[in-house]
């Protein structure tokens, strides 16, 4: 029964363990504050009046909560000369992102299915060529794309932006589906072929029903990429077709009138909300998309 007489050494060991544990939680807590601080500052600034922003400090809670800045941001903030708020640009982003996500995911699924299951000579070369396209800095295609969109007559339009996002999203969507389908045994395809099922039939009734997780991962990845895009948005849009990231940047940098920091912050939160929501609801799939291809195995 040595348990009853706890030795001093063991007791000390235990205290040091508890102290270590507290230090551990303290450090983790400090970083929680570090990561949350900007979000907190954004939200609290957006709920303050300009008067309070000028006199109060950054990290204080609003003394008087007001939603005026949010209303201004949504419906009357100025981007350059137009003062319609961020609403039309929010819908621009939706109208760009939804078709671009759906089309690039569908094509990626078919491509991945072919590369993984219907190997033919050159399929690997195709895949390598495509993969490389994921990594190019887009600056290198900006100039010719601007000219091509002009020649096609869709420069500065929403269909033009959808087109660009589909083209440069294909590398990643193909990669995601290919890596997923490669783990499905090829005997399945062979057996189905013997039973007389064709290329599309096998895809439709065998592969697609198995694909829900990878579809979610791909859709989330593409949606985040396209919603958060700025480079294509600022290069290939014009006054009425800008996505929300471009509008946000214009509102923040517009030099006319009084600088309304609360409106800037409300706009930024509106711009961040869709992807943030996706992250909160489906974080697991978001992380899987991020790490796909960067962690081996």
């Amino acid at each position: 029964m040595t348990d009853l007489a706890i030795s001093p050494a063991r007791n000390q060991n235990r205290t040091s363990k508890i102290v270590l544990r507290w230090i551990l939680y303290l450090i983790l807590g400090i970083f929680v504050i570090f990561y949350l601080m900007p979000l907190f500052v954004m939200v609290s600034t957006s709920l303050k009046s300009l008067e309070e922003i000028r006199t109060g400090d950054l990290v204080s809670l609003p003394r008087e909560v007001t939603f005026d800045a949010w209303i201004t941001a949504w419906s009357s903030a100025c981007t350059g000369i137009r003062c319609e708020g961020v609403r039309p640009f929010f819908w621009n982003s939706v109208m760009i992102a939804v078709p671009a996500v759906l089309i690039s995911t569908l094509i990626g699924a078919l491509n991945g299915y072919v590369v993984a299951q219907w190997r033919f000579r050159g399929a690997n070369l195709f895949f390598a060529a495509m993969l490389f396209g994921c990594f190019i800095p887009f600056q290198v295609v900006l100039l010719p794309m601007a000219r091509l969109l002009g020649l096609m007559g869709i420069a500065g339009t929403i269909p033009g932006l959808i087109f660009v996002h589909v083209i440069y999203g294909l590398g990643f969507t193909t990669l995601f589906f290919r890596n997923y389908y490669v783990s499905i045994p090829s005997e399945l395809t062979k057996a189905a072929k013997i039973d007389g099922a064709g290329f599309l039939r096998i895809f439709w009734s065998i592969f697609l029903p198995l694909s829900l997780p990878i579809i979610v991962v791909t859709v989330i990845w593409q949606f985040t990429q396209i919603w958060n895009d700025f480079l294509f948005g600022v290069s290939f849009s014009q006054a009425g077709t800008q996505p929300i990231t471009v509008a946000l940047n214009n509102i923040v940098n517009s030099t006319t009138g009084v600088k309304e920091y609360n409106v800037d912050m409300a706009t930024a939160i509106i711009a961040a909300l869709p992807t943030l929501l996706v992250y909160v609801i489906a974080g697991k799939y978001f992380i899987r998309g991020l790490t796909a291809g960067s962690v081996k195995g």
Binding site: L24, L28, V32, F34, Y35, P38, L39, T45, R54, D57, L58, I107, L110, V114, W118, F120, A123, N124, A129, M130, L131, F132, G133, F135, I136, F138, Q139, V140, V141, L142, L143, P144, M145, A146, I167, Y168, L170, T174, G198, L200, T224, F230, L231, T245, L248, N249, N253, D264, M265, A272, T275, L276, V278, Y279, G283, F286, T291, S294, K296, G297
Partner: protein, 290 residues
């Protein structure tokens, strides 16, 4: 006919994407490379004049600043994000009860647009009303934190915001790596009385070498492409003190109307990515084909 179709259907399905990649990736790179060898200004010209654009580029002070900034920003961003990510991953791997919630908080910045991140940090770092004013308000009258408007320090504000955005992602990568290390070996080491820090430095961290490589590739890629964050945070300023190659290229292409310079700077960016990514892709594809 239907038999022929059925036989060739897989290739026909791939064909449009294949053609698209050929034109919009490789064809466009070739176009940019070609134009970078001409005297193009406001409009592209197609007679080759050798490397005059590159001579102009390397003689340009602004480009020099942009490249130095890329080196400084890239190094600090990659090293600090990796160190921070590794430390956080190891701390989180100690059976923390609220691990799920903490992980979610560390990683959420990755879901935000760089423009949103830039806007938030621009406000926080605003000398008149941000941290500087707040700390002064607490009684430290001489506190100075004006990096955002200080030409020598502006690039470091981009480092701070970029680390805030991406370090959680590196943490997630490392955490996944820590979890995949063989627990048998760790237990055996613990039974032998090897101290925990030695277990980490001698066994666990070396076995995560591939993850260090992946994190390095992803982060360096992010660093070279950084454009939105600079635009939103400093606009490349004050002056062009915080320009990066990406913002230089954009300024030449769309506000200065100097297509030759835009093309040649894009090609240099491409070359930098190439030297980092191609060996990596090559080794990845080779391993997977074996």
């Amino acid at each position: 006919m239907t038999k022929w179709l059925e036989h060739h259907l897989p290739k026909l399905v791939l064909a449009p994407s294949f053609i698209a990649v050929l034109i919009f990736v490789y064809g466009f790179i070739a176009w940019t490379a070609w134009v970078s060898l001409t005297r193009s200004r406001l409009l592209p010209k197609y007679d080759i004049h050798g490397f005059i654009q590159y001579d102009r580029l390397f003689a340009s002070l602004r480009w020099d600043v942009a490249m130095n900034n890329l080196f400084l920003f890239g190094t600090l961003f990659i090293v600090i994000s990796m160190v921070l990510g590794l430390i956080l991953a190891i701390l989180l791997d100690q059976n923390i009860r609220t691990e799920g919630a903490i992980r979610t908080i560390y990683l959420y910045p990755m879901a935000l647009s760089m423009i949103v991140t830039g806007t938030a940090w621009k406000w926080i770092l605003n000398p008149g009303l941000g941290i500087e004013a707040t700390v002064r308000g607490w009684g430290f009258e001489n506190f100075k934190f004006d990096w955002l408007v200080n030409p020598d320090m502006a690039i470091y504000t981009i480092v701070i915001a970029a680390i805030w955005q991406s370090s959680g992602f590196v943490m997630a990568l490392f955490l996944a790596g820590l979890r995949s290390v063989d627990t048998e070996i760790i237990r055996a080491a613990q039974v032998d009385g090897i101290p925990t820090w030695r277990v980490y430095t001698a066994i666990i961290i070396p076995s995560m070498a591939p993850i260090f490589l992946s994190a390095f590739i992803v982060l360096s890629h992010l660093a070279i492409k950084s454009f939105d964050l600079v635009i939103a945070l400093t606009g490349g300023g004050p002056g062009f003190a915080s320009d990066l190659p990406a913002t230089y290229m954009y300024a030449m292409a769309f506000s200065r109307g100097d297509i030759g310079q835009a093309a040649s700077s894009a090609m240099i960016m491409m070359a930098v990515v190439f030297t980092i990514v191609v060996p990596y892709l090559y080794s990845e594809l080779r391993v997977k084909n074996d």
